[in-house]
Subunit: 132 residues, 2 copies
């Protein structure tokens, strides 16, 4: 069961610079930057209510985020929903005809179990599940 | 002051069809469709925690959403933040160097006061303010 929107991730060239409009303009609190080694990215987090904005900057040209930026430029990268039981959530998505990128959960940022669904199943939006 | 993320709006060709993955796959509750005459769109709403996903389908080729779809295809259209006082929020954004599309609040869907900030000020993401 989906509990809430966990985060909105935006691909950016410079996370610190990108955080200015969200922090100074919208008044959101900034946390970070935090380097996520496994994904080759630096992330600024801006909590807003029960969710957060994540500004994700690539640390190398090999990072998926660098490739995204090269192809599409800055903008929304994915949205993540928090679920109770990620295995059951994946089964439910598959039963509904959703194409999964990850058929099995894998360990993502912060050691949490995550799985991505293909954007073509969600109207062009890359969707992540994160186990609470 | 920003209270929460009010909604995430996704531009889609067919709101009912697009809602299937969110409703059957993620188990979100569907509301709508609702026609917003002023904007020439049909919208499906899917609440999730304190925010909601809005699937926005154009009703005519003149709709801004139709133009967006023609140019970029289906995908995120904008994110909306709920604020206490939209006039103060606009002033704060301008003071932080954010480029506004609407320098003054205007009446949006549901009769609420809204204002949009230019995506180039928010890392490629179109940002809406909605007064609570």
């Amino acid at each position: 069961m989906v509990r809430k929107l966990a985060h909105i991730a935006i691909a950016v060239k410079d996370a610190e610079a990108a955080s200015k409009a969200f922090a100074e303009g919208l008044g959101l609190e900034k946390r970070g930057p935090e380097v996520v080694e496994g994904q080759g990215v630096r992330v600024m987090f801006l909590p807003v209510g029960e969710t957060k904005v994540e500004l994700v900057e690539p640390l190398s040209e090999e990072s998926g985020i660098a490739k995204f930026l090269g192809k599409k430029g800055e903008g929304l990268h994915h949205i993540a929903f928090e679920v109770d039981d990620i295995k059951k959530a994946i089964e439910k998505l598959i039963a509904a005809g959703v194409q999964m990128i990850d058929m099995e959960p894998r360990v993502g940022a912060g050691g949490k179990l995550v799985a991505f669904a293909h954007p073509k199943s969600f109207s062009g939006v890359l969707v992540e599940l994160v186990q609470a």
